[in-house]
């Protein structure tokens, strides 16, 4: 990813969009307060445009803001984020004419946690992290070390099927290609190891994971596919789950959340990153994603004209489990 070029193009396009009145505001990324990180920037001020950045740390799926904001928006998206937008279009949560999509052909987002583990240093002690196609150069105390990029990318990026946005108005760089099968398998490691243990142990695993859940709902709030006006966990008649964070209720909440986002979740991985107690939520969302694909040959956010997965059916849908 030639980030410098893309960043420049983004700034000039974003400025033009605001000046010509084509959008009311721009949703993008700016440098974060912590080293290497980025943070969302939502602005209608032309003077803020030079704060916009594109680098291998633009982790957030900004489409989550679309269904809440009024007016027209120019939005910076990666491949997975663009599919979230397509999914929102399918559900009529966003009107196509109200968004100008600035597509970033993505070559993967760098997981700072993995970088820290790899070089054994805290992020504050690292001088520089530079992505160079399939390599990453990490500099610590003027000591340059090179690694294959896949060692530092987020798990969901390893298995990325669509790095170039599915839907865009302006493409900020050149097309990028999908992950290799080998990398896809690597991204599924956790799920496959879970599948290989007996069901009782699997249940035990999830029981202990959800024991930690504090029900902060960060996973729900960060998710662009979780857009119900009133979430079922807040319903009181009947109370489907109790508000106290007990593992039973936590688990029910998360399973139903996964049901609701089936066919909408694009495996962007935001829920897992948002989780303050590190529950491997992607091992649920990704499995649902693959299940929907395997049983119904449906991938979320690929076709804006198609119906949303659970609002459609085929006469030939699988029914071998029905008596």
């Amino acid at each position: 990813m030639k980030d410098g070029g893309m960043q420049q193009k983004l700034r000039s396009e974003a400025k033009a969009l605001l000046e010509q009145g084509k959008v009311d505001y721009i949703i993008g990324f700016e440098a974060g307060s912590l080293k290497f990180t980025t943070t969302p920037l939502i602005t209608s001020d032309k003077d803020d445009i030079d704060r916009l950045v594109i680098n291998p740390f633009i982790v957030n799926n900004l489409s989550v803001y679309l269904s809440e904001l009024k007016g027209r928006a120019g939005i910076v998206v990666k491949g997975c984020d663009s599919r979230s937008i397509v999914s929102l279009l399918q559900d009529n949560k966003v009107a196509r004419e109200n968004v100008v999509i600035l597509g970033v052909p993505c070559s993967g987002i760098i997981d700072l946690g993995k970088v820290e583990k790899l070089v054994g240093k805290d992020r504050d002690e690292i001088d520089d992290i530079i992505q160079d196609r399939d390599r990453v150069v990490i500099t610590v105390d003027e000591n340059r070390r090179e690694f294959p990029i896949r060692e530092v990318l987020f798990d969901n990026c390893l298995g990325c099927e669509l790095p170039t946005p599915q839907e865009y108005d302006i493409l900020l760089g050149e097309l990028t290609s999908a992950a290799s099968d080998e990398d896809k398998i690597a991204s599924q490691k956790k799920i496959n190891s879970l599948k290989n243990i007996p069901p009782e142990q699997r249940w035990e695993f999830w029981r202990s994971e959800f024991d930690r859940c504090i029900r902060c709902y960060a996973c729900r709030n960060i998710c662009p596919a979780c857009f119900c006006d009133r979430c079922f966990v807040e319903e009181t008649e009947p109370p489907w789950v109790l508000p106290v964070p007990r593992w039973q209720d936590n688990l029910v909440f998360q399973v139903i959340r996964n049901m609701h986002v089936a066919g909408r979740c694009t495996d962007c991985g935001e829920c897992e990153r948002a989780c303050p107690v590190n529950i491997p939520l992607r091992s649920l969302t990704r499995e649902m994603y693959d299940m929907v694909d395997e049983l119904f040959h449906y991938k979320a956010g690929m076709d804006k004209e198609a119906s949303s997965f659970l609002a459609a059916y085929e006469a030939t849908d699988v029914e071998d489990f029905i008596r």
């Binding site: 035990e204 695993f205 079922f232 489907w240 029910v252 399973v255 649902m288 049983l295 489990f321 029905i322």
Partner: protein, 155 residues
């Protein structure tokens, strides 16, 4: 609520059935009026359509301690509302598969097509499902560790 302290030998599975009012509920009615016998393990909730059944109902039933859940509706093409059972079919497919991945025994989540004229089939379904649940054993999925251990020692 299920009594977790019940001894294994006396234990009978509790099955919750969501039956569509147009087909399966009428099918169950026919089984009754025809004096067909089926296990009394099923507790029936009548729903307007199998499409009314939210995966949340299924999970809530298991959470409350039911040993299994049966969702039954009209055969494909027979839905009173034309398409409700097709939506239900899709939803049930992912619910069942996903809960299986979580570690819930597949026997606990059951589905069937039973028409209003299939009283015989209804008795067969309930008999088979009850048998499968007996083999699977009591639902202790949502019991707490402490309680689960306590139950173990009394067995």
């Amino acid at each position: 609520m299920v009594d977790y302290m019940t001894q294994e030998s006396e234990w009978e599975p509790k099955l919750l059935g969501f039956l569509c009012k147009w087909c399966s509920y009428a099918g169950a009615d026919l089984a009754g009026t025809s004096r067909k016998k089926y296990p009394a393990n099923i507790r029936v909730i009548r729903v307007p359509c199998s499409g009314r059944v939210d995966p949340l109902f299924i999970l809530k039933a298991l959470r409350l301690g039911f040993d299994g859940v049966l969702v039954s509706g009209c055969h494909p093409g027979d839905c009173h509302y034309q398409t409700g059972n097709y939506y239900a079919r899709r939803r049930m497919a992912i619910t069942k598969k996903f809960l299986e991945y979580m570690g819930i025994e597949p026997q606990r989540i059951q589905a069937s097509w039973v028409s209003a004229s299939e009283g015989e089939k209804f008795t067969e379904v309930v008999t088979e499902v009850t048998k499968a649940l007996k083999e699977t054993g009591p639902n202790r999925l949502f019991t707490d560790e402490r309680r689960r251990n306590a139950t173990k020692t009394t067995e």
